[in-house]
Symmetry: C2
Subunit: 343 residues, 2 copies
């Protein structure tokens, strides 16, 4: 270990927790007791319900520290959880962060990771209220749980889509996946070369989508302001196809999605071209976009069409119609879940 770095064993678990958590301040009135007891205590206003989600990120499976800065990793590990809370129509309020850390990590590394978590908490107004830190035999494992709040009875589930509902998605799709392909390509190209400079020029957007995704708090706010209540909603973490199939399965419906309506950034398209990959496949199955996919009644058409950054990509059908992508030439292709699989 570099001599300027501090070994975690020199602080111990409690010392490490003290050093990290003193940087965090609470901002939610519902956070009654934060880090430092057997459990955190959270108030729940009368007109709210609690929303809980959890995600685990494993080194070598979900991230590669060759090209993922620890600060970005911390940021992303918080964001992916916030995204799940927004996907319920809720607001993230508190997180717990558990880490298993191998001996190759120093205190300064863990501080970088928490800097990213803190930045995410600062931006999204979330309090760090607990966690666990422990040794690991190999690599880094991050487990984040996020607690949020939603107005009583207003949580948006996956099972509420109805025949003729419009299918909408925020932002654009496939960029995070193509960013990953680019990072992997540059990693392979750099192997064994000390003087290597990765080529990201003109592709900053897709790299950022992979390394520093955002959760669509703004979309939830925009929908509320417009008085639009989605009948179902999910975040796009495993890929559009996979999420659509979840909504249709749970809602007992089918769907039609139009290839030419799927929002794709030009950098995503250029990268797919460059790597000889199918662009639509990347957009349908790429995953990690953390955009919001939702359905609204047909009567909301005019209102939803006016929303900036929201695209109507298809509609819900009766269940026996099945789930299909309508290609540019009018052909129907059955949707298949080819979401990320780590097994």
């Amino acid at each position: 270990m570099d001599e300027k770095l501090t070994e975690i064993s020199s602080l111990g678990e409690f010392g490490l927790i003290d050093r990290i958590t003193k940087e965090f301040t609470n901002r939610n009135v519902t956070t009654l007791k934060s880090v430092g007891d057997d459990a955190a205590v959270i108030a729940c206003p009368e007109d709210e319900e609690i929303v809980v989600t959890t995600d685990m990120l494993v080194e070598g499976v979900h991230f590669d520290l060759t090209y993922v800065p620890l600060k970005h990793l911390g940021y992303k590990s918080a964001i992916v959880n916030f995204s799940d809370i927004y996907a319920m129509g809720g607001q993230p309020r508190q997180i717990t962060v558990s880490l298993a850390i191998s001996s190759r990590f120093a205190v300064e590394h863990i501080e970088q990771l928490y800097q990213g978590i803190k930045t995410a908490c600062d931006i999204y107004g979330v309090d760090l209220v607990g966690g666990d830190t422990t040794a690991s035999r190999s690599g880094l494992v991050i487990s984040v749980t996020c607690i949020g709040a939603v107005k009583k009875g207003k949580a948006i589930y996956r099972d509420g889509a109805k025949d003729t509902d419009l299918i909408c998605v925020s932002g654009d799709l496939g960029a995070a996946y193509m960013g990953l392909q680019l990072l992997e390509r540059e990693k392979a190209a750099s192997a064994g070369r000390k003087d290597f400079v990765p080529q990201f020029g003109g592709k900053e957007y897709i790299v950022e989508r992979q390394l520093k995704p955002e959760a669509r708090r703004d979309v939830v706010a925009m929908l509320e302001e417009a008085g639009i209540h989605p009948t179902s909603m999910m975040d796009v973490s495993d890929g559009l196809s996979s999420e659509l199939l979840h909504i249709c399965h749970d809602s007992h419906t089918g769907c039609r999605v139009y290839e030419d309506r799927i929002p794709i950034d030009y950098q995503t398209a250029v990268m797919a071209e460059e790597l000889g990959m199918n662009l639509v496949t990347a957009a349908l199955n790429g995953g990690e976009d953390y955009e919001l996919l939702f359905t609204v009644p047909l009567t909301d058409h005019d209102r939803v069409e006016k929303l900036k950054g929201i695209k109507i990509i298809g509609h819900i059908t009766k269940e026996d119609m099945g789930c299909a992508l309508v290609t540019r030439d009018g052909t129907e292709m059955t949707l298949k879940a080819q979401g990320f699989t780590h097994y």
Copy 2:
């Protein structure tokens, strides 16, 4: 892999989740939405607050599958979280379970783990409401978050102990630690011997304390029934010394604990004798007992003394008195935290 076992990749993440979660049923009216959406939704009755705790267990650090059956491991991973909720004076209601699983585990192994989790949930009345399952590059990592409820304003913290308060502990201490020593001894003795039969005769209690701990729901109920409101409370997970120092640090007090008052089971004593280990050290620093350590006002002396299985082991002092163990011969020894450290 044994040909009778099912590879996890043959089911995929969603298939595995389906197979496991179909065994679980919800029993809490506050569980509004369980597994199967972006997040779980939990109601919070008007007179309650939410309590949240999380623990991570790492193979090779916290458990050794050579002698820990997966079912017991699942049970314990839930119990250690329930224990933290009881230590706040709360009731556990929901858990999320995240797993990172290496390729040497089959579906059947994961089912055994969840059988243990289910048994704990059944006994303690807790619902499984979410989680995440992913691959790991080596070994098994279990991250459990527990959500509980406590009456508004009634959470019992670590910082409420007052000068002259009585220090009380439930059950007995050091048994889980001596059980671990025994298991480690038998593991070492069995190395390379196929016909080896471990010797646990007459030591079943300490083995069970290590492999299948319980959370002291009964103590919380007993205190409530007796109208006793502890001024501070913690569960004994890192060892009595460590926990006492936490309470005294946070409460700005000192303490005196009497060696001859510390409850120790005879099997613990026999094992310490056999291994030539210091019994008091084991009881003070052993950890993993999951008993409840709490303080009550001196005026509760008669009421707390009548409680079955509760021992008064000392008293809180002014801060400048420091924290000390009073040995059988009246000597004062400064308490030091030598809790489990995994670094």
